[in-house]
């Protein structure tokens, strides 16, 4: 009986020891993900920054403390831009993904860029690359990044209306912009081009109409009077819109990719006294949504790192 108990006790001890060794050697994992979107900035003020939310599976990790981060760049195969990390803010928002809670942290980044020169930086398939002081790196696909800086914007024009039309095309999409412009001069102006300042979208010149207002979420096909195609490659000829006083234009937007663009600025080219001028509209937040769709969640990429 004693012998049996001795063997049982030894067996149990070995089993417990094995369990401890196995669980100790299995590294704890940290998972990070983000919803891809079109990030864009039109640099007008000195203190402009970019906010990138990351969803992290642990609340206390080297991803959540600014002091642990050595440097941050955003890059793709062709372009790279360095950023200063201003802060990492806990958002008090959590979302259930893969039966696990992910906590939202917002990285606030300031581009290190010389604004005295005109800049056009457009990156598709952009990655947020973080170097940690512990010697490891992470590379997270964030969508696209566009940064613009213009030094010679005119004041012959000003904005009197800016409103985005949002329709449901497999999630909220900015499908058109109502733009009111006022001519501040006594000269006649001819608008030649209206460029949305984001690599993923174009203004559809052939479909621009004059419009006073619309109800939010009104169907763009109803406004235009025909079935609107959101994803379409278009070739725009120059516009010839005469502006003597005020005008309100509804500008339909075409998408090159299935990505969310909720904030965008515009560059307007116009002719006055036979000279070409341009007017910049700063990036404007047209809508903001926390309504995550199941289809968005299915497309998420999870990046796994060692916790310790």
């Amino acid at each position: 009986m004693r012998k049996k108990f001795f063997y049982f006790f030894c067996g149990l001890s070995i089993l417990v020891l094995l369990v401890i060794i196995i669980t100790k050697n299995v590294p704890q994992l940290l998972e990070v993900t983000t919803f891809k979107k079109a990030y864009n900035m039109v640099l007008v003020n000195e203190d402009e920054s970019l906010e990138i939310p990351l969803f992290i599976s642990n609340t206390n990790s080297y991803f959540t403390e600014k002091a642990n981060i050595e440097s941050i760049i955003i890059s793709n195969n062709d372009e790279t831009l360095k950023f200063n990390l201003e802060s990492i803010n806990e958002n008090k928002e959590k979302i259930l993904l893969k039966d696990k809670w992910f906590f939202k942290y917002v990285y606030k980044l300031k581009p290190i860029i010389d604004k005295t020169v005109d800049i056009t930086l457009e990156m598709k398939n952009a990655k947020l690359e973080i170097s940690f002081k512990r010697g490891t790196n992470s590379s997270i696909a964030i969508g696209s990044l566009c940064i613009y800086s213009f030094n010679n914007t005119s004041e012959n024009l000003s904005i009197i209306k800016l409103k985005g039309l949002v329709n449901d095309f497999d999630g909220n999409k900015l499908v058109g912009v109502l733009m009111g412009l006022k001519n501040n001069t006594k000269e006649d102006l001819i608008i030649k081009n209206i460029y949305p300042l984001d690599i993923n979208i174009n203004a559809s010149y052939a479909e621009i109409i004059e419009l006073n207002d619309f109800n939010q979420k009104e169907n763009i096909s109803y406004i235009l009077g025909y079935n609107y195609k959101l994803y379409e490659n278009i070739e725009n000829d120059n516009l010839e819109i005469s502006l003597s006083d005020e005008i309100k234009l509804f500008i339909p937007i075409k998408y090159k990719d299935r990505i969310t663009v909720n904030k965008v600025g515009f560059l307007i080219e116009y002719v006055m006294n036979n000279e070409l001028h341009y007017y910049i509209i700063d990036d404007f937040l047209f809508f903001d949504s926390n309504d995550y769709l199941i289809s968005d969640i299915r497309g998420l990429v999870f990046y796994t790192y060692e916790y310790n």
Binding site: S49, N91, E93, S158, K217, D282, D291
Partner: protein, 210 residues
Amino acid sequence: MKRLFIICLLFLFFVPFYTKAYSKTGHEIFQEITFKDEGKLLVDMTTSEVEEGYKYLKGLKFIGWKHYYFNIKEEATYVGEVLFAKSNRSKDPIKIDYKYKDTNTNERSITYGGSLSGKFKKNIKGIDTEINAKIEGNVKKVTSNQTVEETSFTVTIHPNRRIVFRETGDCLVTNGVSKYYFLGITLNKGSWEYIDIVTRYYELYEEVIS
């Protein structure tokens, strides 16, 4: 006379005065709420409509809360607050740089009626969890605050004009009545309503000063 004066002072001292900003939706942050299909806000319900809800809570309950829902996550649109407005009553145009950044925006607005108080907030969380579990395909999410993206713009305000930057949006309305039972006796009851903001839309426009 002196005694009466002291009593009046004591009355003023002990009885708190609550002033609540008037809002036709019952929620300060929403100026207007329009349901996409059918639905009614608590503020638009008659006393008899609310009483009708209590009738569904008459069954036996030994201890705990019982809830009856008028609307469950009913889709609606709202007209929100004016975030910024500036008038120009001078003869010259004014150029302004405006930056909007709200790091502490509530995603949910809650109101209570009857004898319910702020303590009922934890029950609202429970109600919401219960409702979310029933709705198939719903993305489970917990938010107390929402970080609204930063936006800035430069705008020229012309003489006798006013520039307005405002928010509208989509929201989900849930409301109902609840009763708390202890040993089968109703100890507390009241109505409640919570509105979750789903999408915010921003609009900038100029108007003539009347």
